[in-house]
């Protein structure tokens, strides 16, 4: 049984993003995002009967679903923490859609909250994003392999070595996304332009990745409310129908031959949606690093393997370019809410609420989410018609 068009996204809530301390923890941001999404949809808290929770860096704090359910005094038929890393958003939306079609829940809030940034403390020598993301990974950490930067740096270096990909080409992605962010009032870099020269002058993080090859860090929350297509039509906002969902998990390591989970996820979701790549009018690609965008362009087949660099530099990905990709500025320039960054912008575009950055055609929109250096993938194809 296909899910195509049977469910829809009826509500979207996005809190303030970036260096804001409106809440002291991820749950606070998640609760506010739920509240905003209910308001957006014209629903009440008591209408929710499903809650799927993902917390970013704060996942170490324990089972957020229990705490959030308790703190909001919700009564639900579906409750779970969804942790598939950066691909959780697409995974949660798929679980919600499946539950609704199966009749095990009716109105499901998929929520992400994160609070890696803490207010500055006088005299403190630690804290901030570096600490939050400087995680240890077994034996590798003995070699100074902390966090995620090095993993993607190795992918970029390997791509450069095999295919002659250049720093300019990676920079073109960063610059293009910034052009979009400069048209997105929600973006942390809304008011700050970026040139290729700025890119080259930015400090190295993990060579060949500059500062602007890496996503930003955000405190914030995003909530997406999924319900049946029928119910969504009676609510406040135009429904954004879920046409196709899919996951793809490649055993990796991606570094081996630069293969990803994308083709598997794409095949499942596109088959369900009955679409081909040429039908996709707006694509929101997970972009924790510029190299992630490049490998995603190749993975989805926008260009051939190895040609992602040239494609990104020659095809204008930015505003008024030939393909609207990462129209909000992505995780590189708008906000870093893991998979909720591409998902939230895809919903905004599908609704036609993109303002200055609205893509002219937005009937079929793709949101792709990934983690584990692109070996783990989830994708949602959304549309304005069921």
């Amino acid at each position: 049984m296909s899910l195509r068009g049977k469910t829809a996204i009826a509500g979207l809530g996005i809190t303030r993003m970036g260096k804001n301390y409106d809440h002291s923890n991820a749950l606070g941001f998640a609760a506010e995002a739920i509240s905003l999404a209910l308001e957006d949809a014209g629903l009440k808290r008591s209408d929710l009967d499903g809650l799927l929770v993902t917390t970013g860096v704060s996942y170490r704090d324990g089972l957020a679903s229990f705490a959030l359910q308790d703190s909001m005094r919700l009564t639900t038929r579906l409750l779970a923490d969804v942790n598939a890393g950066g691909s959780s958003a697409g995974t949660a939306i798929a679980i919600a859609a499946q539950a609704i079609v199966a009749g095990t829940a009716n109105v499901v809030a998929c929520v992400f909250g994160d609070a890696p940034l803490k207010p500055p403390v006088a005299g403190a020598k630690s804290g901030g994003a570096g600490d939050a993301y400087g995680t240890l990974r077994g034996l590798d950490s003995a070699y100074g392999a902390f966090g995620a930067n090095w993993v993607y740096a190795l992918l970029a270096q390997r791509h450069m070595y095999l295919y002659g990909t250049t720093q300019d080409q990676l920079g073109a992605i960063a610059v293009a996304e910034r052009q979009w962010a400069n048209r997105n009032p929600l973006a942390q870099f809304y008011k700050e332009p970026l040139t290729l020269e700025d890119y080259h002058n930015s400090r190295w993080i993990a060579e060949p990745l500059h500062l602007y090859d890496c996503c930003i860090v955000s405190n914030g929350g995003v909530c997406v409310i999924v319900t049946s297509a029928e119910r969504a039509r009676d609510l406040r906002k135009p429904p954004v129908y879920i046409l196709g969902v899919g996951q793809g998990h490649h055993p990796g390591p991606t570094l081996e031959n630069l293969d990803t989970g994308i083709p598997i996820a794409k095949e499942t979701a596109f088959r369900m949606a009955g679409v081909e790549l040429k039908d996709i009018q707006v694509a929101e690609l997970y972009d924790c690093y510029t190299i992630t965008v490049l490998l995603s362009l190749e993975g989805y087949g926008f260009c051939k393997k190895g040609e992602g660099g040239a494609f990104a530099a020659q095809t204008r990905l930015g505003h008024n370019g030939s393909i609207p990709i990462n129209t909000g500025g992505g995780e590189l320039s708008s906000y870093y809410m893991w998979g909720m960054t591409p998902v939230s912008e895809a919903i905004i575009q599908a609704r036609g609420e993109g303002g200055e950055r609205q893509a002219p055609k937005h009937d079929i929109v793709l949101a792709s989410c990934q983690t584990r250096n692109l070996s783990t993938h989830s994708v949602v194809v959304m549309g304005t018609n069921p």
Binding site: G130, G134, G138, L139, D140, S141, A142, Y143, G144, A145, F146, G147, N149, W150, A153, L154, L155, Q157, R158, Y161, R203, W204, I205, A206, E207, P208, L209, L255, E256
Partner: protein
């Protein structure tokens, strides 16, 4: 004078043979008892034949840089940025995350031949790293 900061890896039972070999200045990887395929990092199952029986064997310690990065921030006082972090493809096949030492990080390249060296962290733990081959 403060003692030099060190990051001593945890010697798990799974990795004990790796560290035992390193203490004797030898590089060890896992070998499938059934089909003989070599593997690293340590894993519970052979990817060639699905056997779960394995032993540790020593290898030449020679290989080539498969990919690398120059880390420009040290998240731990045991490291001084910039330093080179690489995946080394051993001549025998398996790939190993490690450091490239004995060379300016900016001079490291993919494909560069390297050989293992041993860095004694304390009486129990010696860590293999790599340097340019002679």
């Amino acid at each position: 004078m403060a003692e030099e900061a060190k990051l001593i890896p945890h010697v798990s039972s799974e990795l004990k043979p790796f560290f035992d070999a390193a203490r004797n200045h030898q590089l060890a990887v896992q070998k499938c008892d059934n089909c003989g395929a070599l593997r690293f990092p340590a894993a519970p199952m052979c990817l060639k034949c699905d056997s779960t029986r394995s032993s540790w064997v020593t290898v030449s310690g020679r290989g080539k840089i498969f990919s690398y990065t120059i880390m420009h921030r040290a998240y731990h006082p045991a490291f001084k940025a910039p330093y080179a972090l690489a995946v080394v493809e051993l001549d025998e096949g398996p790939k190993m995350t490690s450091n490239i030492v004995g060379i300016e990080p900016s001079k490291v390249r993919c494909g560069m031949p390297v050989q293992v060296m041993f860095d004694k962290l304390n009486e129990d733990v010696t860590l293999p790293r790599f340097r340019p081959a002679d």
